[in-house]
């Protein structure tokens, strides 16, 4: 009976050559909005280029290497490879190794961290209300929604890929730790300030 089950499992796995995309993968979820707020900041800065160059400096400070950039679209893509060893996980692996032999030992060894940073003009679309009387006594009213440039918004997103000591991928995930984003924007605020003061 056990053999039949294992055989059926193998068949099912082979038959299901293709995996199914999760339904929520491309749907707008409520937590998307929370993430947007966590990952974005607005800066009152003159040009988008200044913001991009300050941002790329911060990414360099964090040891990232630039992979791709497109100034007209406000896009910077960077990545870095780092150690992924975690003390607790290694201790657990040693215990497993003692109990079940070296084959059972697996721990995270290396990781690749990717970041994409996107800037865009922050526009307010509030209607401007103007009501003036001309010299001839004619009343002119104007209340059209007008886009006014009001600084720029920057949004950064991180993700990571983790491999274990055998070189097998163990994790692929987005990084959603608020502290990481908070610290990133503290660094960016400083970088913008320094750039404005011309002390680099």
């Amino acid at each position: 009976m056990k053999k039949v089950i294992s055989c059926l499992t193998v068949i099912a796995m082979l038959g299901g050559c293709a995996g199914q995309i999760p339904p929520e993968a491309l749907q707008f979820q409520p937590d998307n909005l929370a993430n947007r707020q966590m990952q974005s900041r607005k800066y009152d800065i003159k040009t988008e280029k200044d913001l991009l160059s300050a941002s790329s400096n911060v990414l360099q400070d964090m040891g990232f290497n630039l992979d791709e950039s497109n100034v007209p679209l406000g896009v910077i893509v960077a990545s870095k490879s780092r150690d992924a060893t975690d003390g607790g996980q290694v201790a657990g692996a040693i215990v497993l190794g003692v109990l079940f032999g070296a084959a059972a030992v697996n721990y995270d060894k290396t990781q690749k961290i990717r970041a994409s940073l996107v800037t865009k003009p922050a526009a307010i679309k509030d209607p401007i209300h103007v009501s003036i009387a001309t010299k001839s006594g004619k009343q002119i009213k104007f209340d059209q929604p007008v886009e006014i440039s009001d600084g720029f918004i920057v949004r950064v997103t991180f993700q990571r890929l983790v491999w274990n000591q055998r070189g097998i991928m163990t994790k692929i995930e987005g990084v959603n730790d608020p502290e990481i984003y908070q610290e990133f924007y503290e660094k960016l605020s400083k970088s913008i300030f320094l750039q404005a003061q011309n002390v680099e």
Binding site: K3, C7, V10, I11, L14, G15, C17, A18, G19, Q20, I21, P22, P23, A25, L26, Q27, F28, N32, L33, N35, R36, Q39, D67, E68, N70, P72, L73, G74, V75, V77, R114, A115, S116, V118, K120, R155, T157, F158, Q159, R160, L161, I172, E173, G174
Partner: protein, 149 residues
């Protein structure tokens, strides 16, 4: 003894079934060309993956595409304004890679946005995920996504 023989027969049979199933998978030529993806024609696939937006602003359209991808948890891989293409990857236990291209429509008054996605190692040919993507996009565009004829 008899038990051993049945086991042997059984494993032989399962091996035969597995081999036949393996041959049922695609050949290299089909994989490179994606020619037999669920019997869909490239016209059908284009209709599923494309929408038209009533705007002539390519840059704004591309910025909206990038913002939407970020909202959906993607990290941008590449972006090129001249070519009008953006590639991005979402990692969430799975790897979902998308390339979105933006080109002006024939009328010169609209932009045609085409997206194609790859889920882990399979192409996404189901209309639903693309519908979801364009629903998200039209929200950030403040424009209706129209079907391309």
């Amino acid at each position: 003894m008899l038990n051993k023989r049945t086991t042997f027969r059984f494993s032989l049979l399962s091996l035969a079934i597995m081999t036949s199933l393996l041959t049922g998978c695609q050949t290299m030529k089909e994989r490179v060309l994606d020619s037999s993806a669920d019997g869909q024609t490239s016209v059908e696939l284009r209709a599923i993956q494309s929408r038209s937006f009533d705007t002539a602003d390519k840059q704004k359209t591309m910025r909206s595409v990038i913002a939407t991808l970020q909202d959906l948890g993607f990290v941008v891989d590449k972006a090129d304004l001249d070519l009008g293409s953006v590639s991005a990857t979402k990692l969430s236990g799975y790897a979902l890679r998308m390339t979105v291209s933006v080109r002006p429509g024939a009328s010169g008054k609209n932009m045609i946005v085409r997206a194609n996605a790859q889920y882990n190692i399979t192409p996404v040919t189901d209309p639903k995920p693309y519908q979801d993507f364009f629903v998200s996009l039209q929200k950030s565009m403040f424009l209706q996504a129209n079907n391309v004829d």
